[in-house]
């Protein structure tokens, strides 16, 4: 079963306002947020929040964003100005805009890295998008930012970073799928699991290649786990979708917005609005609530 849901539907479901989007409440156990058998997770669980930034496409030049050289910097300033800093920051891919020139690719990655060094929170998790990794199978990305897939644990939540871009066919690949299966075997079925990835794991818009070829294999592995939420980028807009009980949340970009999935024949960027500069661009805060095993999403627009 899969379905698209909008924030109004979800907000009505959980009784929240228009800005905040919540995820995961439907999966919380009646016996408590973590249910029986997850004492390990419950012991470490506490509320926290992280920030998701995505698709900055550093190095892009073109009419869809005449302020491309400033947008990422504005986002960094905005995150730094939060009254409380996030526990960590995640960049869900396409840090840089692609180029065939290897030296230019590395130059862009170096510039991106220098800009994000200005973030107050230096607990930063990176993953590649196809613009970063598909032309060299992730070689330059790994040189600058480390592995393209990995896990980490934070305050009772198990985070899994899945790479579906280093293979230019938008595949996770058998080797990584086996790694995922092995990692999941170590988790309780009611463990709190968050997956970060770049492309949608499900078929969002096949005509626009907004999918992962073997994404279903990953979703099938995740289905037995009760509390799974996926955060991704790639589509340059907020989007919320359910595959069974798993919520998939796409983030806005820091370069240009794209049309709604399948809404037109071509996936051309939405034009820059000089009257409302930076409209459609943004980032989000994600608050993980231990008591309810849920996530509250707060969308933050980029402001001049």
């Amino acid at each position: 079963m899969s379905s698209s849901i909008d924030r109004r539907q979800f907000a009505r479901l959980v009784g929240l306002g228009a800005v905040v989007f919540a995820s995961g409440l439907a999966n919380s156990s009646a016996s408590g947020p973590f249910g029986v058998g997850s004492a390990r997770a419950a012991a470490a669980a506490e509320d926290f929040f992280f920030v998701q930034l995505s698709d900055s496409h550093w190095g892009f030049k073109g009419p869809p964003n005449p302020e491309a050289a400033n947008t990422l910097k504005l986002a960094v300033e905005a995150v730094n100005s939060l009254p409380k800093q996030p526990d960590f920051i995640v960049f869900t891919g396409d840090l840089t805009h692609t180029t065939d020139d290897v030296a230019e690719r590395k130059k862009r990655m170096g510039e991106f890295r220098d800009i994000v060094k200005g973030l107050k929170t230096q607990n930063i998790r990176f993953m590649p998008g196809e613009h970063d990794a598909s032309l060299d199978k992730g070689a330059a990305f790994q040189e600058f930012f480390g592995p393209t897939h990995y896990t980490f644990d934070h305050k009772g939540v198990h985070f899994i970073v899945v790479d579906n871009v280093s293979d230019p066919t938008a595949s996770i690949g058998e080797e990584q799928l086996k790694w995922l299966a092995d990692d999941l075997k170590k988790q309780d079925k009611d463990a709190r699991i968050v997956v970060f990835t770049h492309r949608p794991l499900f078929d969002l818009a096949l005509e626009w290649d907004w999918a992962t070829r073997d994404g279903k294999a990953a979703i099938d592995m995740l289905i037995p786990y009760k509390n799974v939420t996926v955060f991704y980028g790639h589509i340059h807009q907020e989007n919320h979708f359910m595959t069974d009980h798993i919520a998939h949340h796409a983030a806005t970009s820091l370069i240009f917005p794209l049309p709604k999935p399948g809404s037109q024949e071509k996936r051309t960027p939405l034009p820059w609005n000089a009257e409302k500069p930076f409209s459609g661009l943004g980032w989000r805060e994600v608050t993980a609530e231990a008591k309810t095993a849920s996530y509250q999403l707060t969308e933050m627009p980029v402001k001049a």
């Binding site: 805009h97 692609t98 180029t99 065939d100 196809e130 598909s134 032309l135 871009v165 230019p168 066919t169 938008a170 096949l206 005509e207 626009w208 290649d209 070829r213 024949e265 071509k266 996936r267």
Partner: protein
């Protein structure tokens, strides 16, 4: 790259199943009948031609080649999918069973301009 060209043919099993049969649009390529052949060339960052006109119910062989690097040819509306490698010819037999416009796109990331590499199959009565 080798100088000789390879030919990849979609027969009834294997790759053909991967291409998808839900739309009833694909069948095995058989050598005997002289069917219309349309050559489709992939290159960074376009297909040539970008518009392919077909008739409903009329079998056509799409002959896919790439002149530079690996590309993809994905037509979700007709259940077609193929990877196109340089020096390889991929032949896909199509018998459209419905009229309409069916977008195709490269689904093998090929660089700046990949997102613009698309076209449309127009099927008429």
């Amino acid at each position: 790259m080798t100088a000789s060209r390879q030919t990849q043919v979609f027969w009834g099993g294997g790759l053909l199943l991967a291409a998808g049969l839900a739309a009833g649009a694909v069948a095995a390529f058989a050598a005997a009948p002289a069917e219309k052949v349309i050559s489709v060339q992939a290159m960074k960052f376009e297909f040539s031609p970008e518009t392919i006109n077909l008739k409903k119910g009329e079998p056509v062989i799409l002959e896919l080649t790439s002149i530079d690097r690996a590309h993809g040819f994905k037509v979700p509306g007709l259940g077609l999918h193929a990877d196109i490698l340089p020096d390889t010819t991929v032949r896909v037999r199509v018998v459209p069973d419905k009229v309409g416009r069916f977008t195709f796109a490269c689904d093998n990331f090929c660089g700046d301009g990949h997102e613009d590499m698309e076209g449309v199959i127009v099927v008429s009565e």
